[in-house]
């Protein structure tokens, strides 16, 4: 097969100059066959399995990385939602610590799946898990968790929403000496997906293989550079074509590496998550893509339209590139992890309400949004309910990973470090007046929405 010099150079430049990387290879590991009533035995079985699988993943991922020019930034494990294998006599924190120790020793970056599926309501054991999640996020380093609180099919479980707000507040309080980082390890979903490789919301759903390898790609820098270099005078439909072509190439690279890792591990290949995932590095930003598309400043009018077009083009290019697409697929807008978003938030150009509008057209939701620590549980639950209902009504995934930074007020600054980045505390209407939200305190469900008469 003949290749051209420019094709090879383009590939290398994507990695070396435009920060193309594989954000994560995530190995889903089922725990369903490990069930026993004996907690000590269960804990040992789970920690052993996680350690064995994680060690192999790290070794294989490094070998594959050596063969290609593209770095794999994170190696992660997702497990069966923990509440499905949990019993009343079990100790959640002790289990989490054993798992945390196993993944640290193996060299895996995060493990996801301390999760509760509560669209319909809680089972008895779910409440126990929910109650103990803040301690897990505070006292472990790499364990992430989530609550599935609503779906288009079931509506929105308001108790789970209010509990999620409390988990965020308590996790933030318990980690107040570290800028409330505990809350960054928790996410609440509507229409949660079972094959998501990204954190904090990864878990291995019941309809998946016992073990499977999925991959999350990255590459905002590649798209931004191409728009700047080749996209200056293009009409919007031509610009969409350019983005599609790039998404195709990026996805193919991700799929190749994912399949190689899966083959070497001897497990089925799951999905490629097509999301453009930013990092705090300048030039690796979704906000900068939107600005390169012609929006003067991310957050200004036009932002939602540009993001919608970007997300759609990424999906179209990606779907053409690989036969199994899944996860969250679209464009991420985690504020603290995106240099352009942080800058716009600091200057007041990007506000929470605009972010909420943006999430109606992209994946995933109010992500890594830092809000004042004195927000009431109910008002925070109201913010979550707003976000999740966008997903419920529009039959898409939405989520909240909100950090109510303890002791911080609007305009203060928090630093998490690493991929989680840093952010200004964004203001939320009503906080300064000490507002609550009787709507969420009513409890019960927001009924599932009608799916015809879509106006």
């Amino acid at each position: 097969m003949n290749f051209q010099l420019y094709e090879a150079i383009e590939t290398v430049a994507m990695v070396e100059l435009e920060k193309l990387d594989i954000r994560t290879v995530t190995l889903g590991v089922s725990l369903l066959d490990l069930l026993t009533d004996d907690f000590v035995e269960f804990k040992k079985r789970v920690a052993d399995r996680v350690y064995t699988e994680a060690s192999r993943l790290v070794k294989v991922a490094r070998e594959v990385e050596d063969r290609y020019a593209i770095p794999i930034v994170n190696k992660r494990i997702s497990i069966t939602p923990i509440s499905l294998v949990f019993k009343k006599n079990f100790d959640l924190l002790e289990l989490a610590k054993a798992i945390d120790g196993a993944v640290k020793e193996a060299g895996v970056d995060f493990i996801g799946g301390f999760s509760v599926l509560a669209e319909r309501g809680y089972r008895e054991v779910d409440e126990l898990v929910v109650k103990n999640l803040p301690l897990v996020f505070a006292e472990t380093e790499r364990v992430c968790g989530s609550i599935a609180a609503g779906s288009t099919k079931h509506g929105l479980n308001m108790k789970a929403v209010l509990d999620s707000a409390r988990i965020m507040k308590q996790s933030a309080y318990l980690t107040r000496d570290r800028d409330s980082i505990g809350a960054a390890k928790f996410v609440v979903f509507s229409n949660a997906v079972e094959d998501n490789p990204f954190m904090a919301g990864a878990f291995l759903g019941m309809n998946q293989y016992d073990r499977m390898l999925s991959v999350g790609i990255s590459g905002p820098g590649v798209v931004k550079t191409a728009i700047e270099v080749f996209g200056k005078d293009l009409k919007l439909n031509e610009l969409a074509e350019l983005i599609k072509r790039l998404a195709f190439k990026i996805t193919r690279a991700g799929a190749l590496i994912g399949r190689e890792v899966a083959n070497a591990l001897g497990v089925p290949f799951g999905i490629v998550d097509l999301s453009l995932a930013p990092t705090p590095a300048v030039g690796d930003s979704v906000a900068e893509i939107i600005e390169a598309m012609g929006i003067e400043r991310v957050g200004y009018p036009g932002t939602t339209a540009a993001l919608a077009m970007l997300t759609d083009a990424v999906k179209k290019g990606g779907v053409m590139a690989v036969d199994s697409v899944g996860g969250l697929s679209g464009a991420f807008i985690p504020v603290s992890e995106d240099a352009g978003m942080i800058d716009a938030a600091i200057k007041g150009d990007l506000i929470v309400e605009k972010l909420e509008a943006m999430t109606a057209v992209c994946s995933v939701g109010l992500d890594m949004v830092v809000v004042p620590g004195n927000i009431s549980d109910e008002l925070l639950a109201g913010l979550i309910a707003d976000e999740l209902m966008i997903g419920v009504v529009n039959a898409k995934t939405t989520a909240c990973r909100i950090i109510p930074a303890y002791g911080k007020k609007s305009g203060d600054f928090v630093r998490f470090g690493g991929l989680l980045g840093e952010s200004v505390v964004m203001s939320v209407r009503g906080v300064e007046k000490g507002a609550g939200c009787d709507f969420v305190k009513r409890g019960g469900f927001v009924p599932a929405p009608i799916t015809s008469f879509r106006n």
């Binding site: 051209q4 063969r67 190439k249």
Partner: protein, 88 residues
């Protein structure tokens, strides 16, 4: 197995010779090669074959380590990456 080598750097005599000599020493057989020079900068691209894929990691590290001495950025990777990214 087939692999790709790209090198981008400041043009000076002998760069190509040194890279290809090392490839020959390591038993890599060059299948395709092309080079362009634009003012002072050159870009080199070649595809080569290595009989034993087990030796690729060592070869890759060895040749990429020449980058600094040659004033170039040299990158090696398996050919399948190009095929996946640039061909439907």
């Amino acid at each position: 197995m087939r692999f790709v080598l790209t090198a981008v750097g400041v043009n000076k005599p002998g760069v190509l010779a040194q890279i290809t000599r090392r490839l020959a020493e390591k038993g890599a057989n060059i299948l395709d090669i092309s080079q362009k020079i634009l003012s002072d900068v050159y870009a080199l691209f070649l595809i080569a074959e290595l009989e034993d894929s087990g030796n690729f990691k060592e070869l890759k590290e060895d040749i990429e380590a020449m980058s600094e001495r040659l004033g170039a950025k040299i990158v090696l990777f398996e050919e399948s990456l190009l095929r996946y990214m640039h061909r439907i």
